[in-house]
Symmetry: C2
DNA sequence: CAGTGGTCTAGACCACGGG
DNA sequence: CCGTGGTCTAGACCACTGA
């Protein structure tokens, strides 16, 4: 157990009102912010911190748990505690569903990933008929049943997004949309072939902490929120033809939109 | 210390691989999800949980800290632990900066809040000249100095949003935009009067956990992420005339956008 | 193997809230 | 005042990692 480089972490002010474990978290946060521990670098071990600050191990662990919930660090059993690296983010542009992209014959996800030099992958594809939740039902104009298409997206092996598309069953039954692979251009291309020319999409964006399930399927580190995006597609007759509910790892995405000024 | 209603919380499976504190968190989470503890309801006290599950207090506290980081509960010193109420969300529509709204003479925030029956308030207003960060500078076309307008927004006394607007100094100096109160319709109305007719806005949306500073100014409960929205306003000549960097409590907002299909 | 983090205990004292 | 959560200690044993 090597001694800590002096001066890197400072000391505790025992006269302060601020709890000791918060002060330790503050010292570590400063050190990370100032680059004294770089991305991916290993922090001092718990026992080193115990010795350096002269506190019990639980106090040190309490401090580390603060930084973990802030998304600054992550711990690896048997190895140590590390400054969490920022993965590359994927930028979702507001024209990503423009018809001209669809006409290339590839899905929006594939095209974009390959342009960025990543290896795209789709996973856990499941298609089935369901009774819609009240929320989905309302968005789709109260169909009795819907076709649900679930799938997970990965980039270079890392899960980044989980999505479920819902379509009114009367519209999707016995069409390529009900097949696991709906063919080139994806379900939006098929919808247009079926006579539902797409007019516009509504998107709703929320952010929240993930459920335990979402932590598992997206392999989220703790302290990483998710972005939930609910998109409704409308055809030129004003009918809602699809609702897509997407949950994304917040540290893998930035969404970009363009708004007109008038 | 009353006995716990039997059957509400279940028991620990000591043969399970799953850590005891995670099992306790699972039981509590189920109970909340199934509505056995409603929004705002008080959970059993720590000592009641200690007795019910037959574990030490630290184990119980560990369980509660999981639920807290998931945003499900919040604790109040001296009172108890409560199911976190979901505050009403504010919906930001994609036409919120349309000129027709501006022409009413009120700010987008005020109009919308009053329509929703809330009491809007603006706070901590500070205007000053600054040297821009590299990021802001790049978005604004590399001005040497910028005018920065900082302010906090509250609804019914609750802080919901903190925003900083940056404008190229050569454009904003000695205009009403440099005044604390820029007048009816806000700075967008003034920009248009100065000959910068607005053409469109670019918005970038991110989600992340808040910094300790943001926790303080937005009075965020733990387990609540923030949405960061960076908006750039362009005039009809293609010049970037303003960048607005907004941080919002994620549980107070849902963002709505409309995308064209082609 | 030694060193790391993960889990858990059984205490202690404190600060806050409400009767 | 008592019950609540907030902080802290000083141990213990375990599971994982890498040499």
């Amino acid at each position: 157990m090597a001694a800590l480089p002096s001066g890197v972490l400072g000391v505790i002010d025992s006269t302060s009102d601020r709890a000791v474990f918060r002060q330790i978290a503050d010292r570590l946060r400063e050190a990370i912010d100032k680059g004294r521990f770089k991305e991916g670098a290993k922090l001092p071990s718990e026992s080193e911190l115990v010795e350096h600050f002269g506190v019990s191990r639980m106090t040190v662990r309490n401090s580390l748990s603060i930084l973990q919930s802030e998304g600054l660090i992550s711990s690896e059993h048997g190895k140590g505690v590390f400054v969490r690296p920022r993965p590359p983010v994927r930028r979702l542009a507001s024209d990503r569903f423009a018809r001209r992209h669809r006409e290339q014959g590839k899905s929006a996800f594939t095209v974009e990933a390959e342009a960025a030099g990543s290896r795209p992958e789709v996973d856990s594809l499941k298609v089935r008929e369901e009774r819609p939740t009240p929320d989905i039902s309302a968005r789709l104009g109260q169909p009795r049943k819907v076709l649900a298409r679930r799938r997970r997206y990965l980039l270079d092996g890392r899960p980044v997004e989980f999505a479920v598309s819902y379509l009114p069953l009367d519209l999707a039954r016995d069409t390529p949309i009900a097949e696991p692979n709906p063919g080139p251009g994806g379900i939006y291309a098929r919808l247009e072939e079926l006579g539902h020319r797409l007019d516009h999409f509504d998107e709703e964006v929320r952010a929240r902490m993930p459920s335990p399930d979402e932590v598992k399927t997206l392999r989220l580190a703790s302290g990483v929120p998710v972005i939930q995006l609910v998109r409704t597609a409308y055809d030129t007759e004003g009918r809602a033809v699809e609702v897509c509910d997407t949950v994304m790892s917040a540290d893998a995405y930035v969404l970009a939109y363009q708004l007109p000024a008038n």
